[in-house]
Amino acid sequence: MQPTTRDSTGSLPSVPTLDDASPFKTMMASFDEAARLLGLDQQEYLVLRKPDREISVSVPLRMDDGTFRVFDGYRVQHNMGLGPFLGPVRLAADLRLEELRALAAWMTWKCAVLGVPFGGAAGGISVDRSALSKAELERVVRRWTASMVGDIAGDRDVLAPEFASDEDIMAWALDTVSEHERSTANPAVTGKPEALGGSAGYLDAVAQGLRIILRLAAARHGLDPSRLDVLIQGSGTVGGNLARILHAEGHRVVGLSDVNTSLYSPDGLDVPQLLAHRATHGHLPAQFPGVELIDPARFLEQPCQVLAPCAVSNALNRKNAERIQASLIIEGAHGPTTPSADAIFARRGIPVVPDILANGGNVVVSYFEWVQNRTGFKWLGEVVDARLRRMMREAWDGVRAVQEKHQCSLRMAAHILAVKRVAEADQARGIYA
């Protein structure tokens, strides 16, 4: 796998962004290492490294001004040993097939760690969504979906949103599949609006999952899990919701940032006020009573017990890893820790809870949505919460057990667990025909 590079957009995609340091390539290499540690047969692992299927389509779009443009559309289905494929639909001008291959594989591992019965997929359209009108966006999504009809189905390949807020896109995709199939195809698409069979708890699922894992990790590493000082990078769907939830639970959010502003107070921030300001103005306030404005380059190095990077890849790197003061790091973003920073944290004895385990709440709730659509029975919010807690805890316990056995980092343990589960399913099923 040769992932291409891609600039970070600053907003948080539901799957990793590939950037200059190529954390993705490193991540895939560490799966190779996990397979080696597991003693997995090399030939079997080769099967796992290649996607099962790759679909390429042309996506013609009539623009609002009457002209036509043609985009590239893809769906890569990596491995279906554990169940139907599940993966995002990404809309990006510089979208590349190589990148989707890597994302699809990564989804396979993520589903396996979280214990949801899916294999991984990733798809997308090579279009700059910000340059499209809403009507154009709808047409391009519908056309892409129509090209994939037959493949997109509840027990074959299930779509997930790239951003938690993409519910319009998911609704159009669902409608297109349903019209073509001449039956209501709710389980084929997740991240839908609640009115169309979406699940309670989808919007802040990543943050809820982080909170669950954070409590378990804090207790394991000698912190008081009911009263933590947490520094959060990012205040969007993940960081903002995490701050809100932790503050409401009685923890102290000592730092919070967005793209331009980094706020810090050792006594804890007034999170509701800050988020209200952000909701009104679109950004955090540049000043706030009793709050210190921190140089963004030094923000992550402020004193705290728990550091939650929830914004960009490579936030923790060779340059700042030595100065991080947290005693626990939990990855809300995708690939926020570079391999060199990982090595430094390992030497300094700072545990890092890896993204693949910590930020999978949305994948679990996508799964819940699919279950609810299959049974046609909607779960109450409390039921979603309780079941999310159970699944995240089981994922944590599974990773911890592997860590004890192999005496490795949580990240490597998560990778080993993922490869093991997928390989076991593949071995049980055998090679067809």
């Binding site: 554990l82 019965p117 027990d155 159970r390 099923r429 055998g430």
Partner: protein, 432 residues
Amino acid sequence: MSTGTAAHASKALQDEFNPFLSMAKGFDTAADHLKLDGGIRDVLRMPNRELTVNLPVLMDDGRVKVFTGYRVQHNTLRGPAKGGIRFAPEVNLDEVRALSAWMTWKCSVVNVPFGGGKGGVICDPREMSKNELERLTRRYTVAIMDILGPDRDVPAPDMNTNEQTMAWIMDTYSMHMRRTTTAVVTGKPLNIGGSKGRKEATGRGVMITANEALKMAGLRPEDTRVVVQGAGNVGGLGALLMHREGYRVVSLSDMYGFIHNPQGLDVPAVLAHLGSTKRLEGYREADYQATTPGKVPQLELDCELLVPAATENQITSLNADRIKARVIVEGANGPTTGVASDILDGRGIIVVPDILANAGGVTVSYFEWVQDRMGYFWTEEIVNSRLEQIMVQSFGAVRATAEQYGVSLRTGAYILAIDRVASVYKMRGLSA
């Protein structure tokens, strides 16, 4: 069928040892009580559909060998057909037919929404490589695929088939249908749609029905000495669960012999010994007696509860008089012959019949199918508590039916099962 204790059996004994005649007798007795008319009786007696397939399989040595296989759907009035697939040299259509009917009654007794089915392939798995078995399984699956499906016919493991076989069936079906279809088969590995609690489900069902039977007999677990014939998934795990409930398990057996300690066995220790040495012989805290062909003295030991959980035709006209237990819970299929059953009834011994006592397995198969259909998986506690609920409820319904008709639990179970199927038949009517 193997009739180990009947090496020189007379015609009468041969008939007695034909478990399907025993079952037919159970059916007829129950049908008489229900005053079923001839038409319905014939419908319920004959399988809906029988499929015979011949399966060319490439053997490892390059030759092609043709195997014959069957799938029989006895009745699908209450839901899709459900029943195991066995691989064995002695498989034949008559046996598969009879076993499929058995499944209809078993599913009906515990009120899971399935009809009965059974399948088999004539082959000797001991002589075949894993690759050959995989090719045979996949070819058989393709050959019967037209009548399989989560809403049509859902196979399960049986003699010489296991969760690996089920995984191959699931994979073959899913690949052909081009969609993940875990609910087409049960008894799968956990990671591809299996259910928690399935392995010990039959043993757990035995324990639960034993608890209920003790209440009928006015016994308490701590006053109950248990003799268990068998030490595998049913007997061994059943004994372990009863031990935990406070029963005094005094004897366990394997194919080589049995161990006995009137003071009670430390069942976990016995199973650990069995796990490491593959035999019960050599377990220190008990007497050991090797198996003698044609004799089953273990069944005549002093005890309150006897659990035959090994194979069919163990309690017969030859030993039924000498059974000392007050309660028998049939963990195996057909461990008691029809003649012996009458003798035990005459002696006032409470017999919990196989179609009730060992239905824990099919009940958790049902749970697996439900979980696969929704894609959401239950915790082990939920599986176990729902199993208990169904087994206790079924026992109560069988007991009430037996009391209502003034018959044994066995006849009561058949009456209940047949009545449920017959009433659905009346409601649905004849299609087309």
